[in-house]
């Protein structure tokens, strides 16, 4: 009580100095949020996971999920491929699952683009090797990045066996096509990757890629909730994971 009244006075004082009405109401909303704890709309989840259906057709050149993700998170499109930053992209089956393809693999599956992203591994080597805890795992399984802590040593990039991480080799800001003011941009020299849209989950929204996918190829949910859609899918369909032999326990499942 005491704290919120003081912060109210502070904010009121600032507004008197002529900051304007809109930022004031926003700041007040933020102050209220901090008083009541997490957003009541936040999706409850104990172990987040994603399911990708490899049997559903992805229309040719459909990039809805990548574009939604990269736009939401201000992922820059670097002109030089060497400096590339990406959170979610396509690989062909033999590249997404090296060693898993064979000559008689179902043609449809062979041709199907495989959507890949950070697997939010249960046993993530990127977290294990990071010398500053800039990469860490949350209770709900999301593997997160602290952009302010990261020193850019890229040990995590060597550690991730899925190539899921990118470094900002250059200042990314000039290369962001359309700035989303709701999400921070990064500085050069720090690593970034998919964050399972934790900022959207906190507001009760599904990940941007899942929402953007019109073909219903992507599913998202709580693995610990026996009644969830993804649990039902994993029960009735066969799912494979990328490089399971490495023991990182990826939490992105591919239905075949």
């Amino acid at each position: 009580m005491e704290r919120s009244r003081r912060s109210f006075l502070k904010i009121a004082g600032i507004s008197v100095l002529g900051v304007g009405a809109k930022p004031l109401s926003q700041a007040l909303a933020a102050a209220q949020g901090s008083k009541t704890g997490p957003d009541p709309r936040a999706l409850p989840g104990k172990r987040w996971a994603m399911v990708v259906d490899l049997k559903k057709p992805c229309p040719d050149n459909c990039r809805d999920c990548f574009e939604a993700c990269h736009k939401t998170h201000n992922v820059p499109s670097m002109p030089n491929p060497k400096d590339e930053v990406k959170w979610i992209w396509n690989e062909s089956f033999p590249h997404a699952f090296p060693g898993q393809e064979h000559d008689f693999l179902d043609e449809a599956l062979k041709k199907h683009p495989v959507i890949v992203l950070c697997n939010h591994c249960d046993n993530p080597p990127c977290v294990r090797v990071c010398p500053t805890k800039a990469t860490f795992k949350r209770e709900d399984g999301i593997v997160m990045m602290d952009y302010h802590r990261c020193i850019g040593c890229r040990f995590c990039m060597a550690g991730c066996p899925f190539g899921a991480r990118s470094l900002n080799w250059r200042d990314p800001r000039p290369f962001i096509k359309e700035l989303n003011k709701e999400f921070p941009t990064r500085t050069r020299g720090v690593v970034e990757k998919c964050n399972f849209c934790e900022e959207r989950l906190a507001k009760g929204q599904k990940p941007a890629c899942v929402e953007a996918c019109k073909e219903k190829v992507l599913f998202f949910g709580d693995l610990e909730d026996a009644g969830s859609e993804i649990r039902r899918l994993l029960k009735v369909r066969t799912a494979i994971r990328r490089k399971p032999q490495l023991g990182t326990m990826p939490q992105v499942y591919y239905l075949v």
Partner: protein, 385 residues
Amino acid sequence: MLEKALVGSRKYYGWVSILLLFMGVGFICYLLQLSEGLGITGMSRDVSWGLYIAQFTFLVGVAASAVMLVLPYYLHHYKTFGKITILGEFLAVSAVTMCLTFIIVDLGQPARAFNVLLYPTPNSILFWDMVVLNGYLFLNILVGWTVLSAEKKGLAPPSWVKPFIYISIPWAISIHTVTAFIYAGLPGRGFWLTAIMAPRFLSSAFASGPALLILFCLIIRRLTKFDPGREAIQTLAKIVTYAMLVSIFFVLMELFTAFYSKIPEHMHHFQYLFVGLHGHTTLVPWWWAFMIMAVVAAYLLVNPRTRSDERLLAVACAMVFISLWIEKGLGLVVTGFIPNPMDKVFEYSPTWPEVFITLGVWAMGFLILTVLYKIAISIKEEKGV
């Protein structure tokens, strides 16, 4: 004692100015890197460590090799090394300093380097690497300087320094073991995922470091009145010989495991080195240069006649040094990323600014080495040993 570094011949000043020039160019390039980011290097999303980390990895070996002098001298009282042990210790000081500098120039956010100490993370090997490298630097400065000061006064080294000398022996092993662990414990990088990574690192270290030292001894004998002694050089040559043979043997072991098991994740990297992969062959000439030089050097070293001929010995040592630089630096670090986790080949070649920064750090290391050697040798000349 530092004043000894300030007086020297014209040649000495000329050499120092060349080094300062390289350092200057490297520094300017580093300023460029600071403002532009690591994008000015050839590194990419796929090959995310390049020339800098390769130098670091190689130089840790050079630093660790000081133990090859310290151990016989202090543990087995092998008196012949008495005159040159200090050269090994000072080589370690300059090599470790280069290692630490290469880590710093490789960081995307160097200003945050202290985060490693502010948020110590014992599960990260990089944390331990920082600890052992800094500890080793401290030990070698302490021991080298104390022993040399005592020598200047014509006294025996104080007894309190003995424990530090003994600690420095396992510590030297630790710096290279921990550095090997940076690579050896990563899932999905088949090229590095090998239990003999640390032994491999140590064997190549004990070849490349002493080889460099032999070259320095030969140069010093020419340029100064100080003579490291023929016997000391020959003993070092034997150390280089055995270490080089073990080093080659270890590489053959890796080849057997990869090619007999035929596991693609282990085989592809070696294929890339020997013949190229999917038409990408940048490192192939380098790798063959390593192999040819390594075999020729081993032949020259094993044969007692060529080994005792100091001119051929110098050739052999140069080949050992260069070939292991290729093997450890380029071959080991860069190839670990090729092919990438999606089994695709993206190659790496350093850019000019990257090369100049690298040369600048080497020049800095050589400057430190020159100054330390100048001091040590001036004192030895004075004492007439």
